[in-house]
C-alpha cells in the first residue's frame, strides 16, 4: 500500500532531497507517493503546514524553532527529524562594495573582509547612509550567520548597518536598484544576481561556520506521531536521494530535474554550479570550486543535532529580544528529533552518531567519532572566529559573544 505525503517547498536548490527522492524513485521504493507543493514565501509554506495543506515542509531551520516557541504567532509545536542540508548560502554585494571588501573572482577571507567592511560601515553610517543588508527571513540561518559574521567583525547589526527582509526572487533586483548593498541568500539566487552583474559573491556562509545547519524537514508534532512510519520511510528515501545528489555522475541530470518548471523553474547551468560546489563569483569570471559549499550527505549531515537547534536558539536570544531560559533552550532543542532519525535508519547501512548533541565548532581536523552504527569521520566544523558552542552552557556562551 502506498502512503501519500504532501511536501511544501520553496524553489531553492536545497529543496533537492525530497524532489530527488521522488524523481529517482526512492520514495516509491519505500511505498511513498509524494506530492510537491511549491510556494514563494516561507510564511505561506508555514501556513500550509499549520492548516494541513501540506504534511511536511522544506523550512528554514530557525522558523521551525520560532514557531514552536510562539515567536510572531501563537505557539504550535513543530518537529524536525531530518536536516535537509548544511550551508549553501552566500553573501553577495553590489560590485563596487564587493571590490572594496575583497578581490574580484576570489572568495574573500572572512576576517580580512570583515575588517574592511567594518571600516566602510562606519564611513557610511557617518555619512548618514548606513550600509543595508538583505536577508531572506527574520527567522533564517541566513540572518543569524550574517549577523554572527558582522558582530564578530565589530559591526553591530541594526545599529551600525541596517537589516531588512528581501524575498529570494527579488534579491538581484534589490541589489541592482541599490535598495540593499548586500544580501545573504541561497542558490540559485546569488548566481542570478552575479550573472546579471547586479552583485559579486564575497563569502560563502560555509566560511562563517564550516558546518552550519540550514534547511530542515519540518512537520507538526501530531503529524509526526500519527504518521511515524511514513515519515521514517521518507527519511530513508531522502538519505538515498542524498547519496545520488552528491554523485558527480548525476550532477547534470539532477540539475535538469531541479530546473524544471514545477520545481525551481530556473537555469540548469546555474543549479549545476551550486550542486557541484562551484560558485560564479563575478560576471564573466570562471566558476570557482569551494568544497562543501552545500553539504547534504557526508558525516551524517542530515542528523538533527540537538546542539544545532540550540545554537539557533542562542542566536534568537542574541538578536530577537528573546529572554534566555533553560526551559526555552530545552524546548528549542526538543524540536530536533534525533530519536526519529535513528529509528528510521537503524539496521540500514547508514551511519548513526553515538550522541544527540555535540560541542559545535570544536573540530579542526578529521576526527573519527563514536557511533551507534557505521563509521563517521567528522571534518573541520569551526566557526571562522574559533569560538565554540557548548550546549551545556548556553548562558556562558551568550555572555562571551560580542
Amino acid at each position: 500500500m502506498t502512503s501519500e505525503l504532501t511536501i511544501g517547498f520553496l524553489p531553492l536548490v536545497d529543496a533537492c532531497l525530497p524532489i530527488l527522492a521522488l524523481e529517482h524513485g526512492f520514495a516509491e521504493e519505500e511505498g511513498l507517493s509524494l506530492r510537491m507543493v511549491r510556494d514563494v514565501s516561507w510564511a505561506t509554506v508555514l501556513d500550509r503546514l499549520l492548516y494541513g495543506h501540506s504534511d511536511v515542509a522544506h523550512l528554514v531551520a530557525p522558523l521551525a524553532i520560532a514557531t514552536t516557541l510562539g515567536r510572531g504567532r501563537p505557539a504550535q509545536p513543530l518537529s524536525v527529524p531530518f536536516v535537509l542540508g548544511l550551508n549553501g548560502n552566500a553573501v553577495t554585494m553590489r560590485p563596487e562594495l564587493a571590490r572594496k571588501v575583497g578581490e574580484p573572482g576570489k572568495l574573500a577571507d572572512p576576517i580580512q573582509a570583515g575588517a574592511k567592511l567594518a571600516h566602510l560601515a562606519r564611513e557610511r553610517k557617518f555619512a548618514g547612509k548606513p550600509l543595508r543588508f538583505g536577508v531572506v527571513h527574520r527567522h533564517s540561518s541566513h540572518n543569524y550567520m550574517l549577523r554572527y559574521w558582522l558582530a564578530s567583525c565589530g559591526i553591530v547589526p541594526d545599529r551600525d548597518v541596517e537589516m531588512e527582509t528581501v524575498p529570494p526572487p527579488f534579491c538581484a533586483d534589490a541589489l541592482e536598484s541599490g535598495d540593499v548593498d548586500a544580501i545573504c541568500v541561497g542558490e540559485p539566487w546569488n548566481s542570478v544576481a552575479v550573472e546579471r552583474g547586479a552583485g559579486e559573491i564575497v563569502i560563502a556562509t560555509a566560511q562563517i561556520w564550516r558546518r552550519g545547519v540550514e534547511k530542515v524537514l519540518a512537520m507538526r508534532e501530531p503529524v509526526l506521531d500519527e504518521r511515524r512510519d511514513t515519515i521514517e520511510a521518507l527519511i530513508r528515501a531522502m538519505r538515498k536521494a542524498g547519496e545520488r545528489f552528491i554523485d558527480p555522475e548525476y550532477f547534470d541530470s539532477n540539475a535538469e530535474i531541479l530546473a524544471r518548471p514545477e520545481y525551481l523553474d530556473g537555469d540548469a547551468k546555474l543549479i549545476r554550479h551550486a550542486i557541484s560546489d562551484h560558485l560564479l563569483l563575478a560576471a564573466g569570471a570562471d566558476p570557482v570550486h569551494y568544497a562543501d559549499f552545500m553539504f547534504q550527505y557526508r558525516e551524517a549531515a542530515n542528523f538533527p543535532w540537538v546542539s544545532q537547534a540550540q545554537w539557533l536558539y542562542s542566536q534568537m536570544v542574541r538578536w530577537d529580544a528573546l529572554e534566555f531560559s533553560e526551559e526555552g533552550a530545552a524546548k528549542a532543542g526538543a524540536v530536533f528529533r534525533p530519536d526519529v532519525y535513528r529509528s528510521a535508519l537503524s539496521g540500514t547501512g547508514q551511519p548513526l552518531p553515538g550522541a544527540n548533541s555535540k560541542v559545535e565548532g570544536s573540530l579542526s581536523r578529521p576526527t573519527a567519532v563514536g557511533t551507534q552504527q557505521g563509521a563517521i569521520t567528522m571534518e573541520d566544523n569551526r566557526f571562522f572566529d574559533r569560538r565554540v558552542f557548548d550546549p551545556g552552557d548556553i548562558a556562558g556562551y551568550l555572555r562571551s559573544l560580542p
Binding site: A43, D47, R48, F170
Partner: protein, 193 residues
C-alpha cells in the same frame, strides 16, 4: 476601517475591492506594486491588510509587523485572533489577513468571509477562462483535422466529422485527441499547416 489590499494582479484586486465596498464604513486602498511596499502601507495606516498567499513579499510584511509590535499601534497577524475556522478558510482560498491589534473579532469575521468569497470567485473565473481557452483550441484543431480529411480523402464535412467520431469511439478516445493525431501526422508527412 481602513483596508489595504496588496495584490500584483490588478484584476483580482479590483474584484476584491468591489466585494468589500459592500461593507459600510470601510475605506479601501489597493497597493499594486512591490517597490516601496512598506512605505505605502505605512502611508495608508491600515487596520487590516489583505495579501494573497502567492505574493513573495509576505515574509517582508511579516517582518515589518513583527517589528511594529513595539510601536504604538501594533499590527497582529490574524492567527493571533485564534479563529481557526476563518483562518483555514482563508488559507484554502489563498488569502492572508493581518489585523491591527484590538480590532473586535465581530468586525473582522464578515470582512474576511467576504474576502474569501471574492478570492474563490476569482479562482473560479480563472479556471473557467482556462477551460474556455482549452475548448476553443480543441475546436480549432477539430476544424483543421476535418479540412485535412476533406482535402485528402474527398469527404464532405459531415462525413469527415463522422469518421473522426467513429475512430474516437472505436479507440475509446476523445474526438479532440483523434483530431490532434491527424493534424500532427499531416504536419509530419509534410502537409501544409
Amino acid at each position: 476601517m481602513r483596508i489595504a489590499i496588496v495584490d500584483e494582479s490588478s484584476a483580482r484586486a479590483s474584484i476584491i475591492e468591489e466585494g468589500l465596498s459592500e461593507l459600510d464604513d470601510c475605506e479601501i486602498f489597493v497597493i499594486g506594486e512591490r517597490q516601496e511596499l512598506l512605505a505605502h502601507i505605512a502611508e495608508v495606516g491600515p487596520d487590516i491588510v489583505l495579501m494573497d498567499l502567492g505574493n513573495p513579499s509576505r515574509d517582508v510584511l511579516e517582518e515589518y509587523f513583527a517589528v511594529s509590535r513595539a510601536l504604538a499601534r501594533p499590527i497582529a497577524m490574524f492567527v493571533d485572533q485564534s479563529d481557526e475556522e476563518s483562518i483555514a478558510a482563508s488559507v484554502e482560498a489563498g488569502v492572508s489577513a493581518y489585523v491591527v491589534d484590538g480590532l473586535a473579532a465581530n468586525r473582522i469575521r464578515p470582512l474576511l468571509d467576504l474576502a474569501v468569497r471574492r478570492f474563490n470567485a476569482f479562482a473560479r473565473l480563472q479556471s473557467d477562462l482556462a477551460e474556455a481557452k482549452g475548448k476553443l483550441a480543441e475546436r480549432e484543431t477539430i476544424d483543421r483535422a476535418k479540412r485535412i480529411l476533406m482535402d485528402s480523402r474527398g469527404f464532405g464535412e459531415p462525413q469527415a466529422y463522422a469518421e473522426m467520431r467513429k475512430t474516437a469511439m472505436n479507440q475509446g478516445r476523445r474526438i479532440a485527441d483523434i483530431a490532434e493525431a491527424i493534424v500532427t501526422a499531416h504536419e509530419l508527412i509534410g502537409g501544409k499547416k
